[in-house]
C-alpha cells in the first residue's frame, strides 16, 4: 500500500454499550471516491448504519413511518463525526467536520456540518472519523485524549445544562494546564429530551443543526464528547510548499469582493432583498413579504444594535454577526443583556416566519435555541405551523407555559415572548403542546390532522428554509429532491434563481440539470470541506479544488473530472442510503400549500407551482442524474 497523505486511513469506532473500541481501516479507494466530510460520511453510514436487510423500497409505509423514525433513536443507529483531507491545513474555512446519522425527524440521511478546532483534534485523536454506536447505561461524557483511547465517564452533573454551560464545564474539568484545551461537542436539554430536531453544539453555540443529530446523541445518553489529539499525529501533506502558497493566495482572495457581503453584513443582509423579491416566507408561508422586514433587516440591525463579527476556526472571512441586546443593568426596566449569533436562517425562522418584527425578541429566541440545542429553522417552522393551526381552531385552546411553569398565553403570530416560552416548552418537552411540537411539524400534523398536513411546511419531515419556493422555481426542485429533506445547503440551486440564467418565476426543462449540477457542487464543497461562502473566491472551483486535493494527497492523476465524478457518486450514495431506508417517489415533493396556493402578495403575487410542473422538473432531474424514471438509483453504487 502506498503512503497515505492528508488522511489517517482509519476510523475509531466506539461502542457505548460495551465500552469497547477499535480502529477500522478505511480503504484508499473509498477515501478517494468520496473525498471526506459528507461524502465519506455517507459511505460510513452505509457501512455502519445500514438497515438489517437490503430493502429496495418496501420498508416504509404510512403505518410504520413512526416506527422507522423511532428506530433512529435506537442504539444501532450510528452517530459519525467525519473530518476531511483539508482539515489540519492552513486553508481558510477548512476546519470543519461533518456529523452523520439517520435522522429521527426524516428517517433518512442526516448530514450536518460545523466549524471548529474540534475537527483538527478529531483527526489527530480518532483518524478520519469517529463512529459512535450503542447506548451508554448512564449519562456519559466521551473523552478521547492524545493517546486515542476513548474513555466513557459519568456526566450526570452536566445533565440539564445549556450547550454553552456544558462546553465550559467540560473544558474546565479536563483542563490539564497545557496550552491546548480539549475541544467539545455537546447537546443541550433538547437533545437530552429527544426533541427530533435537536442539534449538536460546539464552540459556544455553533450548531450542527438540521435533522436532529442531537436527539440521536441524546438517545445514546451521550451528553458531550471532548477531544484533544496529538499534533504529531497530523498526517503528512504531499506537497506542503505548494499548499502553503495556495493557502496564502486563497486567504487573500477570500477578502475580496466575492465575500464582501458576508464579511461586512453577514447573511442577515438577505432579509431586505428577499422581502423585495417576494421570497421571504412569512407567517408560515402564507405570505412572501413581511411588513416588519426593515426593522429586522441586516442593514437596520447593524445601525440599531451592537454588532460584531466572529470567525469560525481557521476562517479569514468571519461572516458571523454577534448581535447584543438588552443591558447589563437588569434593574428597573432594564432587559437582561443577551448576545446571539445571528444569521439569515435563524432570523427568518424566528422573525417573519412566526410574524415577529421585534428584533430583540428574535435575538433572544435565537439565543434560546442555541442554549437548548434546537435547530432554529425547524423550531421556527413547527411553531409557525402551530400558530396557524391554533388560529384555525384545530389545537383547542393551546397554552404556552410561562417561564415559571404557570399556564400562560395563547398562540398568535407576532408574539415574540410566546415564541420564546414555547421554545422552552419544546426543548424540555413540557406540556402537551411542547411535547407535540418536539416531534416536528410532519408528525405533529399527522397527529392533529384536519388538513393541517398541507400547511406543515416540510419536505421528508425537515422544515423548510427561508426561501419561498413558488418564486424560486429551481430551488423548489432542489428542496423537493435533496435526500436530506428541505435543505438549501445541500443544493445551491437558488444561485441560478438569483441570476439572469433562468426566469425564477417560471418552470422549464433546464432545471433538472441545473439542480443536479448545483447539488454536485454542494457535495464537493461539503466533502472537501470548504465553506460555501468561499465558493466565488475560486477562479475555477473544480480545477482549483482538484489541484488542492493533489497537493494534499499526492494523487497526481486526480483531476477536476474525477472530482466531478466523486460529487455525482456522493449524490448516488446518499440516494441509495435513503432507498435502503424505504425512500419512495412520493417522498420527493413539496408541501400542499406550495403546490396548491398561489402567492398572495409581493412582486410575485398570483404565481404558484403546480404538482404537474414540479413533477416535470423532477423527471428532468432524475434523467440528469441517470436514475430510473421512478427516481431510483442502482444500489450497486454502494459497492463502487
Amino acid at each position: 500500500m502506498s503512503a497515505l497523505y492528508g488522511y489517517r486511513g482509519f476510523a475509531t469506532v466506539v461502542d457505548l454499550t460495551t465500552g469497547e473500541y477499535r480502529r477500522d481501516p478505511i480503504p484508499q479507494q473509498a477515501l478517494r471516491s468520496t473525498i471526506g466530510g459528507i461524502g465519506l460520511g455517507t459511505w460510513l453510514l452505509h457501512r455502519y448504519g445500514s438497515p438489517p436487510v437490503d430493502h429496495d423500497g418496501d420498508l416504509l409505509s404510512d403505518d410504520n413511518r413512526k416506527q422507522l423514525l423511532d428506530a433512529a433513536l435506537e442504539p444501532a443507529n450510528p452517530l459519525i463525526f467525519v473530518t476531511s483531507p483539508l482539515v489540519g491545513t492552513r486553508l481558510t474555512t477548512s476546519s470543519k467536520f461533518a456529523v452523520m446519522t439517520r435522522s429521527p425527524l426524516t428517517g433518512f440521511i442526516a448530514d450536518g456540518l460545523s466549524s471548529s478546532h474540534l475537527a483538527v483534534e478529531l483527526k489527530r485523536a480518532c483518524g478520519d472519523a469517529l463512529v459512535i454506536t450503542g447506548r451508554s447505561q448512564y449519562a456519559a461524557l466521551l473523552h478521547i485524549d492524545a493517546d486515542g483511547v476513548p474513555r466513557i465517564t459519568p456526566a450526570a452533573h452536566l445533565m440539564g445544562l445549556s450547550t454553552m454551560d456544558t462546553e465550559s464545564a467540560v473544558k474546565q474539568e479536563l483542563d490539564d494546564g497545557s496550552r491546548r484545551p480539549v475541544r467539545v461537542a455537546c447537546i443541550g436539554p433538547a437533545g437530552e429530551n429527544l426533541v427530533r430536531f435537536a442539534s449538536i453544539a460546539n464552540d459556544g453555540g455553533r450548531q450542527a443543526g438540521r435533522c436532529g443529530p442531537g436527539a440521536v446523541m441524546g438517545s445514546k445518553h451521550l451528553k458531550a464528547i471532548a477531544v484533544r489529539g496529538n499534533p504529531e499525529s497530523d498526517p503528512p501533506i504531499a506537497d506542503p510548499m505548494a499548499l502553503r502558497a495556495y493557502a496564502r493566495d486563497l486567504s487573500r482572495r477570500s477578502l475580496g469582493a466575492a465575500t464582501a457581503k458576508y464579511r461586512e453584513l453577514g447573511t442577515i443582509a438577505n432579509v431586505s432583498v428577499f422581502n423585495r423579491l417576494g421570497t421571504l416566507p412569512t407567517r408560515n408561508f402564507q405570505q412572501s413579504t413581511f411588513e416588519g422586514a426593515e426593522a429586522v433587516s441586516g442593514e437596520a440591525l447593524h445601525q440599531t444594535r451592537a454588532t460584531r463579527s466572529a470567525h469560525c476556526a481557521n476562517c479569514t472571512i468571519g461572516c458571523e454577526k454577534i448581535v447584543t441586546v438588552g443591558t447589563k443593568d437588569t434593574g428597573a426596566n432594564g432587559a437582561r443583556e443577551v448576545s446571539a449569533r445571528l444569521e439569515y436562517e435563524s432570523l427568518f425562522a424566528l422573525g417573519p416566519l412566526v410574524g415577529v418584527g421585534d428584533p430583540d425578541a428574535v435575538i433572544r429566541a435565537v439565543r434560546r435555541c442555541d442554549e437548548l440545542g434546537l435547530d432554529t429553522i425547524s423550531a421556527g417552522g413547527v411553531i409557525a405551523w402551530a400558530i396557524e393551526t391554533a388560529e384555525r381552531g384545530l389545537l383547542g385552546n393551546p397554552q404556552v407555559a410561562d417561564d415559571d411553569g404557570s399556564a400562560g398565553r395563547s398562540l398568535n403570530f407576532g408574539d415574540g415572548a410566546a415564541v420564546i416560552d414555547l421554545l422552552d416548552d419544546i426543548g424540555h418537552r413540557r406540556g402537551p403542546l411542547g411535547n407535540l411540537l418536539a416531534e416536528g411539524s410532519r408528525l405533529a400534523a399527522e397527529r392533529v390532522a384536519g388538513g393541517s398536513e398541507s400547511w406543515a411546511m416540510q419536505v421528508k419531515g425537515l422544515e423548510m428554509p427561508g426561501y419561498e419556493p413558488r418564486s424560486l422555481k429551481t430551488l423548489a426542485l432542489g428542496l423537493a429532491t435533496t435526500p436530506r429533506g428541505a435543505c438549501h445547503n445541500r443544493t445551491s440551486a437558488y444561485d441560478a434563481d438569483f441570476s439572469p440564467e433562468v426566469d425564477r418565476l417560471a418552470v422549464d426543462d433546464q432545471r433538472g440539470k441545473i439542480a443536479a449540477d448545483s447539488e454536485d457542487f454542494a457535495a464537493a464543497l461539503d466533502s472537501l470541506i470548504w465553506c460555501k461562502f468561499l465558493r466565488r473566491a475560486f477562479s475555477d472551483f473544480w480545477e482549483d479544488s482538484a489541484a488542492v486535493y493533489r497537493m494534499v494527497t499526492g494523487w497526481e492523476d486526480f483531476d477536476a473530472d474525477e472530482l466531478r465524478r466523486a460529487a455525482a457518486h456522493i449524490a448516488d450514495l446518499k440516494k441509495a442510503y435513503n432507498q435502503r431506508w424505504g425512500w419512495r417517489r412520493s417522498d420527493d415533493t413539496l408541501p400542499g400549500r406550495t403546490l396548491n396556493e398561489p402567492l398572495a402578495d409581493g412582486v410575485a403575487a398570483g404565481v404558484g407551482l403546480t404538482s404537474a410542473e414540479l413533477d416535470a422538473m423532477i423527471a428532468d432531474y432524475y434523467r440528469a442524474r441517470g436514475w430510473s424514471a421512478e427516481g431510483r438509483v442502482d444500489l450497486a453504487v454502494i459497492a463502487l
Binding site: 457581503k261 441570476s499 466565488r536
Partner: protein, 108 residues
C-alpha cells in the same frame, strides 16, 4: 435629488439599494429622472453622480469612463428579472420602474 433630465421622454426610475450598497450610500433608494431609452450603464452613471460613495464599492469606473456594477453585485429590474451585468442596449423604462442594486451572493 434628481439628475439632469436627458433628451427625449423622461421617466423617473427609482434605484433601490440593498446591503452594502445601502450602507455605503446612506440611503435606501434614489430617484433618477432619465430618458426612457437609457441604457443601464448610463443609469448607473447618474447613480454614481448622486451617490459618489458607491464608486469603488458597488460601482466601478472603467478605463473608458463608463460605470458598471462592481464584482459581487447584481442588478434586478422591478424585483423580477435579474439583468446581465454586460447589458449595454437601452432598456425601455416606464414610470414607476425600479432598478435594484444588490449583492450577487444569495446564500444564507
Amino acid at each position: 435629488m434628481k439628475s439632469a433630465a436627458p433628451n427625449g421622454v423622461s421617466v423617473v426610475v427609482t434605484v433601490e439599494l440593498f446591503g452594502l450598497a445601502r450602507v455605503r450610500a446612506g440611503v435606501s433608494s434614489v430617484c433618477l429622472t432619465v430618458d426612457a431609452q437609457t441604457p443601464v450603464t448610463e443609469l448607473l452613471g447618474a447613480l454614481a453622480q448622486e451617490c459618489p460613495d458607491l464608486v469603488g464599492s458597488a460601482l466601478c469606473l472603467s478605463d473608458r469612463g463608463t460605470i458598471s456594477v462592481a464584482d459581487g453585485y447584481a442588478l434586478n429590474r422591478n424585483g423580477l428579472a435579474f439583468l446581465s451585468p454586460e447589458i449595454e442596449a437601452p432598456l425601455d423604462w416606464a414610470p414607476g420602474d425600479s432598478l435594484l442594486l444588490l449583492s450577487n451572493q444569495a446564500g444564507g
